[in-house]
């Protein structure tokens, strides 16, 4: 007979709402000692909120938390740490202008001393980092570190505080496949040393590979908790989504005949906001009727590349042209008017929350006839066009005069698409088009992109979702540290090859 492992942490009947939105509803969750418990769910399912409650950043409206079977009140992260609970957030909780050692010191009780004792902190840090193989220079400034290193700092912060429970929130979303392997190795080492881990993710494969048990959340409620050994991808997916999920989107056959080169990028280079090279001599083309996907972990120059192609960032070398017209150094308006559409990486950047839907839909064309004449806007025409677009692109809203901020994430994305696509651009640059969007909208958007591809639009797709890249792209480019590391067609592509290229090795 096996001894039942004790539950380190239990969440009972947790409910949480933000204004009108229910984030968690009556959630039951427990973590056993020494286990890796996966928390799986789509974006917006309530995983991070739930863990933020456990970590004391939010107070639940209902329910209670038990640590070692004792009910506790966790009013702040300070309390959580006192109870031995630590969290590594998706967006690191670090102060970039301070050093590693200062970030670790932050919030530690100073026990009545006036001056900081950085030396003893440094020593202990080095000790811990030796033990778990998390190499880091305590004197480095956070802004100097790579993303993988910064994540290590987050883990070290928790370990320094002797946590027994470690919550990892989407830790692999910013890592290369190699770094992910290293992380998994670290997690296993920690667990064998007695730690218990909660692993938040929305990736099925990840959940299956590292966890002991998986709890699936959907729309704020627990759908079920199952041992990993008996779980299957299909079962998990349908638990996450609530219905049968197609793993591949239908694609039309290629229309080879009228192919022409639309986007030509030659030796393009650009610097990032820190004046460091972010885009290094990038060259590629995108033809009409094809989707070229750029795969790569966030932070490898994709954002800067898109900004350069849309006139928001100056190129330091090289050039690019759309349909033969050189647009290097052109202003954003110029680029837009030469047939380029831009779905921004962050839906916040592509829309103005305080503006109405009409005003948002007119952000690109408001100054052109027929929408304006002699400086005056033709409001009636703009409203008419807005109504049309809202209907056509399935934007769910009470009417066209509401403010954009009242829309859900998916509808905001659709609004942006409506605006950009209705301009009938020759080239559409879609950066993370389904980020933060529910599965219904995700399907719609992917379908729309394929439809436009079939109609002859050239599409440059940037995404961190590998399955999205694989299912939509005709050709795939891998970008790593500002360079194109490799190019392959759909047929040649598979995750291992892509992963290797993303990690910097030639394949």
């Amino acid at each position: 007979m096996t001894v039942q492992p004790e539950a380190v942490v239990q969440l009972c009947g947790i409910s949480m709402r933000f204004g009108k939105v229910i984030a968690n509803a009556d959630v039951e969750f427990d973590l056993l000692t020494g286990e890796i418990h996966g928390l799986l769910g789509e974006n917006g399912a309530g995983k991070t909120t739930l863990m933020n409650i456990l970590f004391g950043m939010y107070q639940p409206d209902e329910g209670e938390i038990l640590v070692h079977n004792q009910p506790v009140k966790i009013h702040s992260p300070h309390d959580a740490i006192r109870y031995g609970i630590g969290m590594v957030h998706q967006h690191f909780m670090q102060v970039p202008t301070l050093r590693v050692v200062d970030n670790v010191i932050l919030g530690l009780s100073s026990a009545g001393r006036v001056f900081l004792d950085r030396d003893s902190v440094r020593q202990r840090l080095e000790c811990i980092s030796e033990n778990y193989g998390l190499k880091i220079d305590p004197n480095a400034y956070i802004w100097q570190l790579s993303i993988g290193d910064r994540q290590r700092v987050e883990i070290l912060k928790a370990l320094y505080r002797d946590v027994q429970v470690l919550i990892l929130d989407e830790p692999t979303s910013v890592l290369t496949p190699k770094e992910t392997e290293e992380l998994f190795h670290t997690v296993n080492t920690l667990v064998s040393d007695g730690l218990s881990v909660i692993f938040i993710t929305h990736h099925l494969e990840e959940a299956l590979s590292i966890t002991d048990r998986i709890t699936v959340l959907r729309n704020g409620s627990v759908v079920g908790t199952i041992p990993t050994s008996s779980a299957s991808k299909q079962e998990l997916a349908s638990m996450m989504v609530g219905r049968e999920v197609l793993f591949r989107v239908k694609r039309e056959e290629d229309n080879e005949s009228s192919r022409r080169e639309v986007l030509r990028v030659e030796g393009l280079s650009a610097l990032n906001d820190r004046d460091l090279p972010a885009v290094r001599q990038v060259s590629f083309t995108v033809n009409s009727g094809e989707i070229v996907g750029i795969a790569g972990v966030d932070g490898n120059g994709q954002s800067e590349l898109v900004q350069t192609l849309t006139g928001l960032r100056p190129a330091t070398h090289g050039k690019f042209s759309v349909d033969g017209v050189d647009l290097t150094g052109a202003s954003p308006r110029h680029v837009l008017m030469h047939g380029v559409g831009h779905i921004t990486e962050d839906s916040e950047d592509g829309l103005i929350g305080e503006f109405t839907l009409i005003e948002n839909l007119m952000l690109d064309m408001h100054y052109m006839p027929p929408y304006s004449k002699h400086g005056r806007l033709n409001k009636a025409l703009m409203a008419e066009k807005a109504r049309q677009l809202i209907k056509q692109y399935d934007v769910r809203a009470p009417d066209e005069s509401v403010k954009a901020r009242t829309l859900s994430g998916g509808n905001k994305q659709k609004l942006m698409l409506a605006r950009e696509i209705s301009r009938d651009p020759k080239l559409l640059i879609a950066a993370h088009p389904t980020r933060g969007v529910d599965i219904g909208a995700e399907e719609y958007i992917r379908g729309l992109l394929l439809e436009k591809r079939h109609a002859g639009m050239a599409i440059l797709l940037i995404s961190t979702k590998l399955d999205e890249i694989l299912s939509l792209s005709d050709r795939i480019l891998i970008m790593e540290r500002g360079r194109i590391m490799g190019e392959m067609t759909r047929e040649e592509a598979n995750i291992e090859r892509i992963g290797l290229l993303m990690a910097g090795s030639e394949a």
């Binding site: 970590f55 950043m57 970030n103 919030g107």
Partner: protein, 314 residues
């Protein structure tokens, strides 16, 4: 005239005056530095200085005790720093607008109380100011001795504050916490710091300093109070914080530049310098403008400056 300007007496007197005039701005700017490093921009210090000036003068006049007056000037400033803190933190007010409100409010309050307490009459109440305290031995040094080591006590305090703040921010946990809260409040929150409390304390402290800075004017410089005693000094303190890149050393430099231009303006006026006195009055403002245009530009300081923080939004 040129000879007069280049004489030792003129220069020595000018340098001493520079330090005297730089002190109120130095004190106020150091306070604003703390406030801004915590993430709040307090535009109300222009008004708080005036209130501090009045309160300091009033209490000193009524009690005959200069230090008591100085203390109360600071306390009055502290009160309005706290009000700014509550507005900015608890109510998440737009800090620029709130600061303007406090400025005008304090200006009105000082003017109102001045009329109420002292009435409008030809008789202008006066007090004897803080007298210079010569530091033994050091004040004997030619030129430098009289400039630096023969000043009133508050000037010494102001100068000493500079290294104190340097140490505070580089070596103490509280200084680290303030910087964290101003750069990335979410990270500070996750580390267990109370962002709201730290910010409120910082801006309250900034008010205290501005109150002291204002109180200095009647108590150490002019010996009397008028409504326009500190005109523009609060704004210059704000400019100097940016000029000094939110560091005590840089702020000291800025305060000295400003003090010099003020001292120069007085001296030139007294000497009937052939330039209309209104242009001389413009001098400190023009200097500030030049500082801001050429030295400051877009350096925006702490990342979370003027942004209210809440857990839900981060």
């Amino acid at each position: 005239m040129l000879q007069e300007i280049i004489s030792i007496a003129f220069i020595s007197g000018f340098l001493a005056a520079t330090l005297r005039m730089a002190s109120p701005i130095l004190i106020t700017a150091l306070g604003e530095m703390v406030t801004e490093r915590a993430g709040i921009m307090d535009l109300g210090i222009e008004g708080i200085m005036i209130l501090g000036a009045f309160t300091g003068f009033c209490i000193a006049f009524l009690t005959g005790n200069l230090w008591l007056g100085f203390l109360f000037g600071g306390l009055a400033g502290m009160l309005f720093g706290l009000i700014m803190g509550i507005a900015s933190v608890k109510y998440r007010a737009n800090q620029i607008v709130a600061g303007l409100g406090i400025w005008i409010l304090c200006q009105g309050l000082s003017s109102l109380l001045n009329r109420r307490v002292f009435g409008i009459s030809a008789f202008r109440p006066e007090i004897t100011t803080f007298q210079p305290v010569a530091i033994p031995i050091l004040s004997e040094i030619p030129i430098l001795g009289n400039t630096v080591f023969n000043q009133n006590l508050i000037v010494y305090i102001a100068l000493l504050l500079v290294p104190v703040f340097i140490i505070f921010f580089s070596r103490t946990a509280q200084g680290l916490n303030i910087d964290a809260v101003g750069e990335n409040p979410r990270a500070a929150d996750a580390a267990g710091l109370d962002v709201g409390v730290i910010r409120t304390l910082a801006v309250t402290f900034g008010g205290l300093m501005a109150g002291f800075g204002g109180a200095y004017l009647p108590l150490a410089l002019y010996g009397l109070y008028t409504d326009d005693l500190s005109t523009g000094l609060g704004w210059m303190a704000i400019a100097i914080v940016v000029f000094g890149k939110w560091r005590p050393g840089g702020i000291l430099a800025g305060a000295l530049i400003f003090g010099a231009s003020n001292a120069l303006q007085f001296r030139l006026q007294a000497m009937n310098f052939p330039l209309p006195y209104q242009f001389l009055l413009m001098l400190p403002f023009m200097v500030t403008l030049v500082i801001v245009i050429f030295f400051v530009r877009g350096d925006t300081g702490p990342s979370a400056l003027t942004k209210p923080y809440s857990r839900a939004e981060g």
